[in-house]
Symmetry: D2
């Protein structure tokens, strides 16, 4: 079975495995105090042009979100996020488990809208019982979003303006940051993130690493004592150099963005073919996740040969929304095979 289930089905970029082989018996200090983490942190600071930022390496996405947010907030402070946000939907209440309320907004196309965030804070201030309500303090956004859309530079700038006006922090979950920067319609670059965010992650797990997320923290108060909190949540890998090494390799020669671009190109090929086949796309996705409505009949046959992520079946409309996810490792022939098979089944 060929899988389009997600972007973390394969191992890692071959160059990384080669590096791991080469240094396997090298002795490195533990817990992130090694030369590879140092090197990768420097590479990142140069890319984002932010020498004052702190860079930490963590293992996974939910972990990165919860450690970052734990370090940022006092107990009564809340996280503003969109209803489809990963922290709201797919982290088993990880943020609530560290004590913080999510203030959930509908947003637009999976994205927070700056004016709506501004209004939410104004409404909080205007409420006579404001101290009886969790205090809006941190904006959580992800890029790409959970539905595959992307933030433009202007949208990030607008959120920054509201954040400055309202004393909010911006945290961007960049589990698919490479995909966000290499989407066809993207206008953000590495420095967009250091310019507009107080902290953001650069995802590795979904872009060619075995595992690993790099967390960039620009805000000085947020930086303070971060490693204590990282350790407390079980989030410093003993052999952290494994992550440092992977990042130092993937960031070399622009490989991080090249791999991401490949995933996007494969997705575009899929989306265009879906449309040609007469299928309706669900969302204005433009990155490596393609959401499409499949007739139930097609779906039931297709899933015998291909793996992808269906939503709940909609019997009334005789269809199901399905996510097809491409990655750094997706082979063009597999995409073509899927399309060919769909063509046959629809015929």
């Amino acid at each position: 079975m060929i899988s389009f289930a997600n972007d973390y089905s394969e191992g890692c970029a071959p160059e990384i495995l080669d590096r791991l082989q080469a240094i396997n018996f090298e002795q490195n200090p533990g817990y992130g105090e090694d030369k590879y983490c140092l090197e990768a942190a420097e590479q990142i600071k140069q890319l984002i042009e932010s020498p004052e930022s702190a860079v930490h390496f963590l293992v996974g996405g939910t972990q990165t979100n919860l450690v970052a947010i734990a370090a940022a907030l006092r107990p009564h402070e809340a996280v503003i996020c969109v209803d489809t946000g990963h922290v709201n939907v797919h982290e088993t209440g990880a943020i609530e488990a560290i004590g913080h309320k999510l203030l959930v907004m509908p947003g637009r196309d999976g994205k927070l809208v700056a004016e709506e965030v501004d209004q939410l804070v104004q409404d909080h201030i205007d409420d006579i019982s404001f101290e009886h309500m969790a205090k809006p303090r941190l904006i959580y956004i992800s890029n790409t979003t959970e539905i595959g859309t992307i933030y433009s530079e202007a949208e990030l700038a607008a959120l920054r303006e509201v954040a400055d006006k309202r004393d909010l922090l911006i945290y961007l979950d960049g589990a698919r940051l490479g995909s966000a920067m290499t989407a066809k319609t993207a206008d953000t670059t590495w420095t967009s993130y250091s310019r507009y965010c107080d902290a953001f992650s650069i995802g590795g797990t979904k872009n060619g690493l075995l595992f690993g997320e790099a967390l960039v923290i620009k805000d000085p108060a947020w930086q303070k004592d971060f490693r204590y909190i990282q350790k407390q949540k079980g989030a410093i890998l003993a052999k952290s150099w494994l992550i440092g090494l992977q990042y130092s390799e993937i960031l070399r020669d622009d490989k991080y963005l090249k791999y991401a671009a490949h995933a996007n190109r494969m997705a575009e090929r899929l989306a265009e073919s879906f449309v040609e086949l007469g299928l309706e796309l669900v969302d204005p996705a433009c990155s490596n996740q393609t959401f499409v409505y499949l007739p139930l009949d097609l779906h039931h046959k297709l899933r015998e040969e291909f793996i992808y992520e269906p939503g709940l079946e909609d019997a009334k409309n005789n269809r199901v929304s399905a996510r097809f996810c491409t990655s750094w490792a997706t082979k063009k022939e597999n995409v073509d095979q899927l399309i060919q098979r769909m063509k046959e089944l629809l015929a």
Copy 2:
């Protein structure tokens, strides 16, 4: 200034103060192990016809909610509640602060709808990532609701059916339970609550006590070690007999319901007068909270002489929604004075 701001503006039923005077120098054991708590617990168990229930006395409503829920749930278990629910809106994230996610539903008239709860659980089960989502486990409802509506016996029975089918617990926040049982359209009685809920509170603060909430727990697993958790949250009053004594007094001769009925009758007088004055009621309220739209002009003058709780001003429609709350202590002449003044201002 005459206040209709809330139902906790005055002290307590005079009979209670007399009792406190009478026993002031009596020596009682601390932390709820006194004869008054014992007596009040027995009175409650008789009223609700549930000798197997445990009864605990706490100080306030938010405290009662958070201690009860802390005792019921494992870390990944979530609370189902309606968007206007007190735990969602006005407890500064108290439930999240003890680690639990709220699964917020729109409901209907401030109330959860049994079929919708059932569907929420079904959707959770059907989701391929169900372990990545907090697990629905406890139904939080309040009676009266935060918008003054009440649950019927049939509605409670329907929720119970879903709870049994889905292995959910039902917790009912009864901060205004007296008002719920004595509303004009009410059909629930004391035994409704022990029949349909796994735990519920009987509010004292808003119904004639200086302070105090009685928490009834029917579920045996929930009862276990409850006092440990109560103490851990700072929620056992050293002189708990103060609460026991107040309950033993207010429950005597049906005073609890009589006081509640008075509050409701005053509210009905208000609501009817509002309608006669040509004002529009906001909600189908039927208990001691009356929500009405006031023209901004009227509002600006009225609030110089009366205290009530306005929402955010709606300039577009030139009105504001305002809550007028009556209580066990509301004087009929004050109600009449308010109406008279509104009549003058509207003339």
Copy 3:
């Protein structure tokens, strides 16, 4: 049975009940925004000569400790306390339940020793794995201590010096602050506490109030958004004016210290009599708690007529340590009756 079990067996100072009667039907705003809380806060700020302090009113001691500490610390920061400290022994893990580790020290006579605290921080800094250990941040002390001893002005000054050197906060649990200031050997006064502590409580429950603790916060960062956190923990009484009124009354005409002095005088009478009877005192207690070793034989008879708090029986030495607690309400004739009965039983 006459009880020396604790200092919260009776109701409250009669003047307070009279005040409650007088204002029972007055309408006051809720949640601490009333004139009585304001008045009492002003009285306290004048007594401690600290107009820049914030004063909040809470219901009980464990609650006050946990809310105060929740407002002060980031997740990785720990509380330094003595092994007998109330937060360590008798709050069912309340501080851990809000996420913070206790760094427990043996101390001396129930008190933290400044040099030992200094060394603890130095050891933390010197440890190569310091980020793998909770960070010492807040000194928790209580006055009087849990074993009835008191801090001198010099001891508080020494702790302050270490706190300043080490960037630590000092929080003093003053559940028995009156007793600490009126003990025979006391040299602290109201201003000692505002001078040396960043925050401290002034206990009401054990000194003539029905209930209530006043929390004074001097540190500006600690003050910020305190009421949000207080609400989140269920720790703002709806009718907070009940606490404000009680404090405004007990602080008038120095009654707070007069009641405390009475409790201490009764304890001294007890301690002197115990020694005269040939019994050995356990601790160098000098306030309203007297710890004495009772022969098991005496204990078994005595407890049929009097209530006090025994420790675990020590069969080997044929004795039990027992706490006799006096209070603002202890009657001299009851003390004399106890001593007389012990004399008879020992004869």
Copy 4:
């Protein structure tokens, strides 16, 4: 510089890297639902002869401890551990951060003593304020211990007896379980752990894996919904098959124990040489950690060429305690080189 700093300085067993290379482009389902995790879980259940156990794969040790304990306890329940226990000393308060108090005991040689645990529970029960104290519920032990000692089968059996008598759970942190089973004086085998523990971990990070801990849960209530809690704490690796594959490889042909035995043999060689050199061992260590007192002079020179973990310098006795740690990857020639150099420096 040659390092004896710890047992996680190198990468992994070469066989493992070869396997990772071989399957790098295989597509596997995420989050532990792959064939390698399944295979490794089966291997473990066979080794420990416990088909009813659940096996989960996590990334690191602190993470495993905190997720396991979060899944086991209600809020008021406490963890019994020895003062040197990893959860007490080197996890930045991770257990307190999920809300639970540690009840810390001195133990003996870094190990809990069954009779002392029994007495601790009895004292809790006997205390008149027992509900004001966290409830002892889970025994945390580690094997090897943090000071390199090991539990005998009889010691585990004794703890089990107390656990059964007192309704306690036993959790064993097996970060160095291989070392514990292959120490010269060891009498435990794989089945010892499934026989005496309710849950235990089998450490990979320190025994030949890149990373990974296998958690075995025997207790059915503890097993329930475990993956929800694992996800909530950010502790399910997206590409969990990486851990499954590593375990399936290291458990093949008894390699897990062979690697561990190598580490122990190297440590014994070190310890014997230290004694021959006239140095004093600190602890009765018998596994892969050797604690020795070094004269300060020797230490200052030695650390220019070798890396190891010194404690705080003891100027009074002109010595420092130092830990030398060997591992699956320690080369005999490096051990010999260290000893040779010490000999020269001591000459």
